[in-house]
Symmetry: C2
């Protein structure tokens, strides 16, 4: 087991940002500047082609840390951010660009590549969670949530299915193909986001993935608009969801 090594620290507006590594995997942990008490932890998965400090990540983290007093951790997915790409990564990225340039659907490439990335990322997330729970401000028995859309859902669904420490999750914006069977094993409360006019993910496909979760408590938020037009107020909604389920307001 790798322990967590902090590599940088800064602080601003009530939020402490600490870069870390767990083995080869770089991550970032945002925490309330004020807090010494234990607080819930939200793991966030970034989208394809971005990284752990992408604006969507820092924006959501800020809301969760300052609004709820939670810790938030993001790690770079394999081949993303500060991590090297394998030859396989390069091939799949080239295939995606070719599909886009040809005006072909990108779904088949994205689904295939994300499935591969999830196989690499799930054990990394589990090792990261082990290491984070060694920190005194987090601890081994505190509530843990997961929040990831797009590729963050492709990784988060199989992670949540095998990881009983995660007790509430926000997913969305993904095809069901490689995920629906796994989603049927998930029973924790879920909030799921879908774009009603998504130009990449057919409406029926998004609805099918939401439908697959076995959770008794699950909520679909479908908004008019294209794939990248998820309204900003959905980030606030996700924060309220975690506040309800992880136990702080």
């Amino acid at each position: 087991m790798h322990s967590l090594q902090f590599t940088a620290e800064s602080s601003s507006n009530g939020v402490v940002e600490r870069d870390f590594t767990v083995g080869e995997v770089p991550g970032v942990l945002w925490s309330p500047a004020s807090g010494a008490d234990r607080a819930p932890l939200v793991l966030m998965g970034h989208g394809g082609g971005t990284h752990k400090k992408w604006p969507a990540m820092t924006g959501r983290a800020d809301r969760l840390v300052t609004g709820c007093g939670f810790h938030v951790a993001v790690i770079d997915a394999p081949g993303h951010g500060d991590r090297p790409r394998t030859a396989h990564d390069e091939q799949e990225i080239a295939a995606l660009y070719r599909a886009r340039a040809a005006g072909e659907p990108e779904g088949p490439v994205v689904v295939r590549y994300n499935t591969h990335l999830a196989e690499r990322a799930v054990p990394e997330w589990q090792a990261t969670l082990d290491a984070l729970q060694e920190l005194p401000g987090i601890g081994a028995d505190g509530p843990v949530g997961y929040f990831g859309l797009n590729m963050g859902t492709a990784i988060g669904v199989p992670l949540t299915a095998v990881e009983p420490r995660i007790t509430a999750a926000v997913f969305g914006l993904h095809w069901p193909d490689a995920l629906a069977e796994t989603a049927k094993q998930i029973t924790i409360p879920i909030e799921f986001m879908l774009q009603w006019d998504d130009e990449h993910i057919p409406r029926e496909s998004g609805l099918a993935l939401f439908d697959a979760f076995a959770s008794k408590e699950k909520t679909l938020h479908a908004n008019a608009g294209l794939h990248k037009e998820l309204p900003r107020f959905e980030a606030d909604s996700a924060v309220r969801f975690f506040a309800r389920h992880l136990g702080r307001a």
Copy 2:
């Protein structure tokens, strides 16, 4: 034009409750006890078989008045609450009970009866809104929202389609049959609630009504559960929706 007559007034926990009539139609207006300034107005339509002071109405009104400083008005629908039933009302209610007792779908009766009630209720709501806007705390140019589920949607959709004063609305829990064509004329921001396992309204029917709205800004909230299991946090979500669109936080 009938003016508004107040018939009773009480006050509790920062909320002033005033019963009123506009012509033959009885209603209730809830307002912030503190406010002399003009504030936005939310019209709320109650569900079938209930009335203007049903707990769902008083609960939502309390959130809107104390949380946002809004006025909230509800009127008894035709044949409901303090209003007499016509012979036609009695026939339709008997038909509904017969369908339920026989284990037949209640949709056809509810859709037919609600369509009839909406024809009677829309002009009553317009006269009520005229009269409410004469009050100095509301005024003729302030923002107006509409919030109604079930029968409140059956009445609210045709009302909103003909009433340009309504600029944001929350609907849901209804069949599309008599409403989808009218919904296509509506372009204001909409939040729409649907129960994913509704035993009366088929999932596809609920989704079809949401789809019909021409609004560029529309959000579907679909929750796991039966028709009457709409989670209580959706009332808070509706309040935030109105706070965003009617202009106060």
